[in-house]
Amino acid sequence: MKKVLGVALGILTAIGGFVDMGDLVANAETGARFDMNLAWVVVVGVIGIVVYAEMSGRVAALCGRPVFDLVRERLGARFGLANLAASFFINSLTLTAELAGVALALSLLTSVNYLFLIPGVALLVWLVCWRMPFETMERIFGLLGLCLVVFAVAVWKIGPDWSELLSDTAHPHVPATDNGFTYAYYGIGLFGAAMTPYEVFFFSSGAVEDGWTAKDLGVNKANVLIGFPLGALLSLAIMTSAHFVLAPRDISVDQLSQMALPVASVLGRVGLAVVLIGIFAATFGAALETALSAGYVMAQYFGWPWGKAHAPREATRFHAVVLLAIIGAAVFGMSGVDPVQVTEYSIVLSAAALPLTYFPILVIANDRNYMGDEHVNGRFVNAIASVYLVILVLVALATIPLIIITKGGQ
């Protein structure tokens, strides 16, 4: 049981990374619009995040310091500041989307307008960040997020022709109804959602919070090899359910409520209840991750005491940043912006900032001063990571032009 709970950090991070507000919408949207023609992006994304999250966890376990802490030290204050600015901005957008996501999930259960629920959700997120021990937090929300497995159950209940589904997935093409630019835009969105920067900031900071050492490198591997593929599986299940239920009806997903429809239509009330709990837990978990990540990156850059292991009075600036990030995101969320569009932009803009996050991790994981001779990256990992770095740069360069050309994926 202890071993099962040991991977809770990976599961929470992966649930947050793969099935947060952005992924829930993006996966359902792409499944409904492009069928399974973008499923390959999720597979590419999960390999990338497994490689880099493993590196960041290994760095944290060996150095006892998270990635962002080392970025500034290894690459300098200016690079660190550029990284901080980009990460903090995108993180704040993501936090806005997650708070709205939690409120929307509650709204679907209560009929209360989600705008009225955002302040209460923000308060709850802050209270959990402030009071709940890290281990309890990761276990509750990571494991509750597993309710989203109900999407896989719904797909199984639909009873698809698995060989045909696999064949469709393995032979992607740009649908006749869309053009290559829109296809690329959504592909980049899915890739950005899979490799969202806050995942590695949270994962490596969480590893430090959990007190990982060199002895925990096995736990690190188990976390990334179980947690992230599980998150990717949930992503694919959401996409597949939308492909089977929504696409044939010409339904395009632009509301969170629509992505739950396939489960309701296949599994009924129980399925719907489970999926709404799953959405609540996943978005709430992601809100915690992004709120804490705001504090982590800021405190780690400026060298302040940080983390939930410290009493709040010992890490006042860290907790102040978390609180201000939550307040800012709640106010932005209540301003009337469309939460789904904020979500879409946050994941696409994440893609633009990916090299800033992942390049330093690769540098540090190859530095014998930090990792020692025994634990630096091997050739195989470096080969994969380098290929991904090239992909990340290409994706980053293409993002803003694609937003403009496609008018935000229209």
Binding site: D250, L272, D338
Partner: protein, 167 residues
């Protein structure tokens, strides 16, 4: 204690910082422009207008079909009231937004007028029928939702025919 390793050199770190600031600024502008719902641009030619009419019809069809599916789920007892009520209201709002946006586009010529005259009544009918479903669900007539939603089938067909005509 780990050794302090060299900081980034100023030669490439400064441009990196400037690029980072520009990227953040660009992203902020894109976000502010992009996060406005149902944004509409002008239609200067018939082709522009036709493209907007197509998008309007596609988005409306999605909203109509969503409500039809919600009504089916409601009638078979597969969902609870709050979920149905909020979901139908969202689609009603979406449809109202789409309709309002399309109505606000100035048709550039007589050909566009004809297109507008064809699509607008379909949107009006769909909005009325979606509102009927919302009323039924909010009154707790969950089992009767599919019969109330029956006219939406004709609306969906009309939208599909409209899209087929556009080619």
């Amino acid at each position: 204690m780990l050794p302090f390793v060299r900081p980034a050199s100023g030669v490439w770190a400064a441009p990196m910082l400037i690029r980072g600031r520009l990227a953040v600024l660009g992203a902020a502008v894109v976000l502010l422009v992009g996060c406005t719902t149902h944004r509409v641009g002008p239609a200067r030619t018939y082709d522009d207008f036709e493209r907007k009419a197509r998008t309007t019809a596609e988005d409306s069809l999605s909203a109509v079909e969503t409500v039809r599916l919600l009504a089916e789920v409601s009638a078979s007892g597969d969902a609870f009231g709050p979920y149905l009520s909020v979901s139908v209201s969202e689609q009603e709002d979406t449809l109202a937004g789409i309709e309002g946006d399309f109505a606000s586009i100035q048709p550039p010529g007589p050909r566009s007028d004809a297109l507008r005259d064809e699509l607008t009544p379909i949107l009006d009918a769909a909005s009325t029928h979606v509102a009927d479903v919302r009323v039924a669900i909010r009154r707790g007539n969950l089992r009767a939702a599919d019969s109330v939603a029956a006219p939406l089938s004709a609306d969906a067909d009309a939208l599909r025919t409209f899209l087929e005509q556009l080619g």
